[in-house]
Symmetry: C2
Subunit: 595 residues, 2 copies
């Protein structure tokens, strides 16, 4: 994909001086990602692109016509870098719509994101991805979209709102801002030539598009097989060794620092002494709004990388041109003629908090404040309540057991506070009362259900241990990746109250105790996102998390995420989809009653 | 463009170990262009691509299944690098057809060239480019082709065999091995938004192809204007400053070392201390067969760069993956899974003479000897005598002058031994005899003519000073870029003899004294190339150059080239096309008789 000026001839005219530039940024110290230099320069901009960088770092004193601009901006000696390019993000995970997401991240210097809209893809299919494309069209930042490769994540093991094959991907590839195939999560499929992966990745490569990868914890021959299969990147590195392995085989490392995974320190330790770091980029992946509010966005990762010993110039290169090159996006990521004037100004190169941000040559943020106007617009999808199923009766949320027994040996899902969202299977003898399992005697146990919200009527049930809440219920329509309704509860009545409220809110999160709503996040767009400012959604998130503490969940790093990821059948080990409990390693379903 | 395996699933199978590899290269020290490391490894190859690199540079001792191969090759501890990629070449300038060119360069480790066939394009048009594409199809090397952007180099100022517009370029872009637009030489046109350049470069960028540049001696705002216009590279750097200027603005520097231009030392001095050298590649451009025979090919440039202080690992990266990335060619240029098994083995990293060369996993050369069989094939174009015009009568090669004068003040073209092919205009008072200019009294003067060979009947004439020969005639059908017939001569009769012999030989070079042929090169394919081994054509070249010494031309570095470039109206200053003398700077024609 090439980002081009609408009128290239006018840009050429401005470069050579036949017409004045639209804007000249004076007195900047330009960071050159092609040479690694920093030098004094004035930067002329026309048509939203850089026309000329007037500088003389070699002190040649060659004559040059003065650079004239209709407008001028005094950088006052600050460092001018390309705007940051986030190599891998799911905007839905910020729980803001693309337009509110833009308002939140532009002041941090992020001018381009490469986003995988597979959450809304699972809910609304192609229509959902088209919505993400349409509503990001006129933004003062660039949201490039990848066509989700794994909708659903594991066909046949869960029911979502859509299923993407070559036909859907091919349709999405025709959209102008779709740059390739989004994270190819089914690495088992790639390594084993599974037909769906062979056809999707093959189609992507034949179309000469970017095939984004996801290669969790594989190495050696498996990693080579994955690379041979076609995907070109990985944002799942969780160790220095992971990062070193991947760069060596030519897989781009999208070094991630998300709400859940803090991997930068290890990755930088792994790669910083390599002679080349061409294949390293930064990715925010799943980062929630309260974290963006607290720490920043891509600039936070760059800062952390610098603190971990990465050279600041390398960090800026990694955060800009490297990400553009990885995804095959030409024309962004450098302060150089012919490149988009997506720029950030910093007082320090070791503390990347932008004092100004430009997008397409327009000043869009200054001193952390958004200056660009992003208007609310109406989109059909935003008016659809995607939680349209009937609220189940309480009996449906009980788990039947042989009435002639007093207890049953059950397979259960075990959380471990030290492992976060990683779960295991265990067994427990659960009392049977009136033909139903009865967990009331053991506060470490809770019921869990995943309720299909796309009309199949399927409900997967389980008993979970040590999720964390002592009482009450928590429910959500954010339930990766199919985004059915997930609920963890002490009593069916509390679950029903929570689900009814989710339906009323058209999605989000709800916590309940004794039939009363404790807190909630309203995510009415696809049950995933909200058209509200980051401060609003972050405050809702904080209140919700506080309510979980009230329910007894203390000292858990990611209380919401641990539940939201419970249904994802590709994350080890014990998962629950709308079709039942499943072992993510063996991909086999387990019965609740073991014997 | 992505170079892909025919059967990717089989490659994946070999990578993970479900089937043995086709070939395993054991005991190599792999040069990793992604990390800059060198480490011990065995390399498994399948389907012509690298399936797996078995290594453990971090001494992790992780278990791994043994790497099995149907065939094995013992590298005996030698350094294994990717095969070299020549970023910019005109194969025609080697005077060998693509198939004989391949025989000559493969043993030097060149496995891919990005060639601009604009010489044959000027002679035979699209048909000529198609011939280059067709006859390189089944070679044990990769010849990627760019669609010539400047056929002819200066429309309206010369008549060639073809004229390329968007229609022709678009037709060529459909060929599978055409990677983009070849060197956009008309940098004045680009900087000034000339319609032909705007449409051709615009078409190339819209098609997301590579636009190769050519930005001779421009800097500052002109260089920015050129970059804004779209071209992405330049192989015309002749100084350290040129190279630094270009890398800074994001223009790839194809560091050239050709028969004519030795630029490597300066360029390396310019770029070697930059933190990044992502934008540097190597290019052989116009390199003649005797030079290839004497010194090697791309490996010669890499060696020279290393001697100039470039790190050998940087030199290898520049010679491989950098060139592939510049032109947007994916899947070549690295020893990594999923990349083509185009490889070279070296005993030393500071003296890059390959002991073995692999192409697509096949051993194609060893110890400087070609092992691959490249058969002669019949191509229609090779049977066409492109010198089909009538031999002009001697009178046509005399220059008329007012019969009533005894002398005339003339504009002449002046060669300077210190300036090589760069010429200037001068004036001289030339005697007039019987109504014609008579140079017989001044041995420093010679007649020159450029005779259209495409049927227009046009002949451009001039008087040249200090070309070098004292007597006789030299003629050639290699006459950039239109490749009309160029002849420099003392007497019309000698010119006629030379032209007649060129016609008989279907093209090439001829030297003549007193009506006798002294020496000749036979280039019957388009009047530019020969289907003969490099030793044959190099020997012809040597004999021809010796014959020019016999004619008095001593101490001239490039006697043939100086004449062959005389008709090129984009090289400063004084040029001669079939339409007459032209100033390459002002692009204005000059009359022979000044007053």
């Amino acid at each position: 994909m090439r980002i081009q000026p609408k009128n290239r001839e006018r840009l050429v005219d401005a470069a050579i001086g036949r017409i004045p530039c639209d804007l000249v940024i004076r007195n900047a110290q330009v960071v050159n990602v092609f040479t690694g230099e920093v030098y004094d320069a004035d930067v002329g901009i026309c048509e939203g692109f850089i026309a000329h960088v007037q500088c003389d770092p070699d002190k040649t004193n060659r004559p040059e016509a003065p650079l004239e601009g209709v407008k001028e901006y005094d950088a006052k000696g600050a460092f001018l870098t390309p705007g940051f390019v986030d190599a891998h993000i799911h905007i839905e995970s910020t729980m803001m719509t693309p337009r509110y997401f833009a308002k939140a991240v532009i002041p941090h210097g992020t001018t381009t994101v490469i986003t995988d809209p597979h959450e809304i893809g699972n809910v609304f299919g192609v229509k959902g991805v088209r919505y993400m494309h349409e509503c990001s069209e006129d933004l003062p930042m660039r949201q490039l979209i990848l066509a989700p490769s794994c909708v659903p994540s594991l066909p046949g093991k869960e029911n979502g709102g859509a299923s993407f094959g070559v036909e859907e991907i091919s349709e999405l590839f025709k959209l102008p801002r779709v740059a390739g195939l989004a994270e190819v999560m089914d690495y088992y499929g790639v390594m084993n030539n599974a037909p769906r992966m062979v056809s999707l990745v093959g189609h992507c490569l034949d179309e000469e598009k970017f095939a984004q990868g996801h290669a969790f914890c594989i190495y050696g021959r498996e990693l080579s097989a994955y690379a041979c299969g076609g995907p070109m990147s990985d944002h799942e590195c969780i160790s220095a060794q992971d990062a070193r392995d991947r760069v060596r085989v030519g897989i781009n490392v999208d070094a991630r620092e998300s709400s859940i995974s803090q991997d930068i320190d290890d990755i930088i330790r792994g790669v910083k002494d390599f002679r080349y770091t061409d294949l390293v980029t930064f990715a925010t992946d799943d980062t929630e709004s309260d974290d963006i509010l607290k720490r920043g966005h891509e600039n936070y990762i760059a800062n952390k990388a610098i603190r971990a010993g990465f050279d600041p110039i390398d960090a800026i290169k990694v955060a800009t041109i490297n990400a553009a090159r990885e995804a095959g996006i030409k024309g962004i990521g450098a302060v150089a003629p012919g490149y988009t004037a997506d720029l950030a100004l910093f007082d320090s190169l070791t503390n990347l908090e932008p004092k100004a941000v430009f997008y397409g040559g327009e000043l869009v943020a200054e001193d952390g404040k958004l200056l660009a106007v992003i208007e609310d617009k109406d989109y059909e999808i935003e008016g659809i309540n995607s939680v349209s199923i009937p609220v189940p009766a309480p009996e449906k949320l009980m788990i039947a057991a042989p009435a002639d027994r007093t207890s049953a040996r059950c397979n259960i899902i075990v959380f471990d506070p030290n492992k976060g969202f990683m779960t295991d299977f265990g067994t427990a003898d659960i009392p049977v009362k009136d033909g139903f399992l009865d967990i009331s005697g053991d506060p470490s146990l809770k019921y869990a259900a995943v309720i299909n919200r796309y009309g199949t009527g399927t409900i997967g049930q389980a008993i979970v241990k040590d999720y964390g809440i002592r009482e009450g219920a928590v429910a959500s329509t954010v339930a990766h990746d199919c985004h059915n309704i997930v609920v963890i509860y002490d009593k069916p009545e509390n679950a029903v109250t929570a689900i009814a409220r989710l339906k009323e809110n058209a999605g989000g999160y709800v916590s309940v105790r004794d039939g009363e709503i404790l807190a909630e996040m309203k995510l009415p767009v696809a049950g995933l996102m909200s058209n509200t400012p980051i401060e609003t959604i972050a405050a809702q998130s904080q209140r919700l998390k506080a309510s979980l503490e009230t329910l007894g969940m203390t000292g858990v790093a990611f209380p919401l995420f641990n539940m939201a990821i419970l249904p994802l059948p590709v994350v080890p080990v014990a998962r629950l989809t709308d079709l039942g409990m499943i072992n993510a390693i063996t991909q086999e379903f387990l019965p609740i009653i073991a014997e």
